[in-house]
Symmetry: C2
Subunit: 423 residues, 2 copies
């Protein structure tokens, strides 16, 4: 898109121009090799792109590589994917997002990323900067510091995740009220590390807090753990759809980041997506900026994984396979809650995702306790120093082993004094 | 690595500290989830990482995904790889690099990246900044603008690639002589877009130009097209080894970027590597910084592709498969040279890689000519406006079709006047 076309496109959704960071403004795909190659698609002799093929676009793949991907389309899995990702995968994922929405929200076509972190990184680069803070509930996944602050220099502003047993919407309102210029809000439901997603009656309040904010606001819906909802009465889907329907194009860009990592249990695949609440040409302009950030870091995403995800989305058994995983995780979730209750181990509210978070008693240090759990109980957990708590991932423990896990945790967490004397 | 340990490590190779950009200095892996998870590796109950497994670390992969990677190790291909990449792959690639060196150079363990662009991007982020220019021979691959200047704001300083029919070492010396502070030099052999790599008698001069430079200098050896050498008397390998042996740890960091993309003809895989001429703890510190940049953009690389590349490197037939591809490309190379000579189409010197570069007569615009070639001759090529030339990729055209390709090119390139009147 030329600078002039970009200007025209962004007039359709003025918030984009107000929210872009300096790097986001610079990000543009040059009229480079992929574009010139696309223009030559129908030619008899294509001498454009530096891929080793047979002259008809069929890759001269080495058998030692290709045999591992034998049932995937050879060209799709061995050659470069477009910067935006495989076109059919983008369309399919759009349908996948729309299938979870009651009313279709305004949205761009998804851009395929190399995993969900990559989608967050792209949003961070598009919208954050030293004077464009990132607002997150505390505690948060510590990699947001690396993804956003380390790279773009944007400060992180926090508010406490919970108010009582509920998401802290008043706290969200309070921290937004302190902002005087463009900013980015990141909401991760189901959350890492708390394992909490909103109940149905919480969502209107969250949306109102965002919509009432008078300044330009990009909202990143980090939906990495979407579909892993375990309680009745939950909202049970991403807030992206409802937020995008309520958003004001003068002030808001809502970004949905999601992917195959957890939803399709394909952690190593590195297939994520970023989708904007921006339809039409302004949405295409944002997607092109995302593609420029892809071109400038990894050039294009992993083809075999994109090809496999596309095939899976077209598989008639996929829904049943996903339901099976949800059942397995639901059993683990209920076993964990029952065991924590049985041992009177305190926990933050949790209802979804892969984790629960255990607050530690005053004077019991999270890092010290984590090390004791390894040494004394042969239990590995993650310390969350932000709130002096331990994160327990129940997604990797069989339900039948969870009582034993909790017993081991309880021995240390409920006996701090004895523990401290032994180390 | 703690800030204190980093300081100690970098004393072993002072050039690293002198060359790091502000982002390179900031880049650090926090004591985060991957590290805490690694510490819990031997535990009876591992509740650390958010991967959905059976409790023994075996992924609960969906059959609709996993069936496409059935002969790869399930855990290796479905779960997260380490930030640095699969450990065995790093070791294997180190052996692969050493196998092409007469004398083992000082070097770090390679870090696996999501393709070769990603390795260049990491070097760009580590070493370039608005006051840390990137020096490249002209013409150059236009994505360097996107990878480096768009992201880091570093200016690009060029010198003409050729002096007569040889690499322009005097031009390299002249542009380096203008530098007064830390900078980065990028040398891409075989080159994109020129298709040139040094002859054996050119390499000492290039190395001397680098070593004689009195200021801190990072050198990126972009070895994307390594192994594709077609003429006798060529140096025929990367200059990384010889440069690293000659380098001064007070002033130089030599970076080798390479990968499976072209060498293993696995364009869609996105498996690249970055290796530094820095052994010991200073090399580990640089590798950790590269891993931090990976963690902050894509979290980790594509597991199925890394797993397949590792398997291919251990395949007894790999060398024969690569030799076959080299034979096929050699036939195309010779057919192209013969046809260009037969039609008296002028070309820049070329001897390697995937491309040749055709200078256009004065008054014949590269973009205009590219469009005419599509419209009139059904031929797709890439315009290189930097030197008003056309890049012809012979890696995707069968040898028997190359005379026809050149005939079509010659019709337009040798008849500029007639061409201009028809459009």
């Amino acid at each position: 898109m030329s600078p002039e076309a970009l200007d025209v496109a962004l007039r359709e959704h003025p918030a984009v121009g107000r929210l872009l960071s300096p790097l986001g403004r610079r990000a543009a795909l040059p009229f480079g090799i992929p574009q010139q190659s696309a223009e030559a698609k129908g030619c008899a002799r294509r001498a454009t792109i530096g891929q080793i093929t047979d002259g008809e676009g069929v890759p001269l793949a080495l058998p030692s590589i290709a045999r591992h991907f034998a049932d995937l389309d050879r060209s799709e899995s061995m050659l470069y994917t477009p910067q935006h990702g495989l076109q059919r995968l983008r369309t399919r994922w759009r349908e996948h997002i729309l299938a979870a929405c009651d009313t279709p929200p305004p949205m761009s076509l998804p851009v395929v990323t190399a995993g969900i972190t990559h989608a967050i990184s792209i949003c961070g680069e598009l919208f954050t900067a030293p004077d464009r803070p990132l607002v997150i509930p505390l505690p948060y996944w510590d990699n947001y510091d690396t993804i956003v602050t380390m790279r773009t220099g944007a400060p992180i502003r926090t508010f406490p995740f919970f108010q009582g047993a509920r998401f802290n919407t008043p706290g969200l309102r309070a921290v937004l009220a302190e902002l005087t210029g463009p900013a980015t809000l990141l909401l991760n439901f189901p959350a890492n590390p708390t394992g909490y997603a909103p109940m149905a009656d919480e969502v209107d309040g969250i949306i109102a807090a965002v919509i009432d904010h008078p300044h330009p606001l990009a909202v990143i819906c980090d939906d990495a753990y979407e579909t892993l909802f375990f309680e009745p009465g939950m909202y049970g889907r991403s807030i992206f759809g409802a937020l995008s329907l309520a958003a004001d194009p003068e002030r808001h860009v809502i970004c949905k980041v999601d992917g195959a990592t957890k939803e399709l249990v394909f952690f190593g695949g590195r297939v994520g997506f970023v989708t904007f609440s921006v339809p039409g040409r302004a949405g295409e302009a944002l997607a092109e900026k995302a593609a420029a950030l892809i071109r400038s870091t990894i050039s294009s995403g992993p083809a075999p994984a994109q090809s496999a995800v596309l095939a899976a989305l077209e598989s008639p058994t996929l829904a049943a396979e996903q339901a099976h995983v949800l059942d397995v995780l639901g059993l683990r979730y209920r076993a964990l809650k029952a065991a924590l209750d049985a041992h009177a181990v305190p926990y933050y509210p949790f209802n979804s995702g892969c984790f629960c978070l255990l607050p530690l008693p005053e004077g019991m240090d999270a890092e010290h306790t984590r090390k004791r759990l390894i040494a004394e109980q042969s239990v590995g957990v993650i310390q969350i120093p932000q709130v002096n708590a331990l994160r327990v991932a129940f997604c990797g423990i069989e339900a039948e082993d969870i009582p034993d896990l909790v017993e081991r945790l309880a021995r240390v967490i409920r006996q701090p004094a004895a523990g401290l004397t032994t180390t």
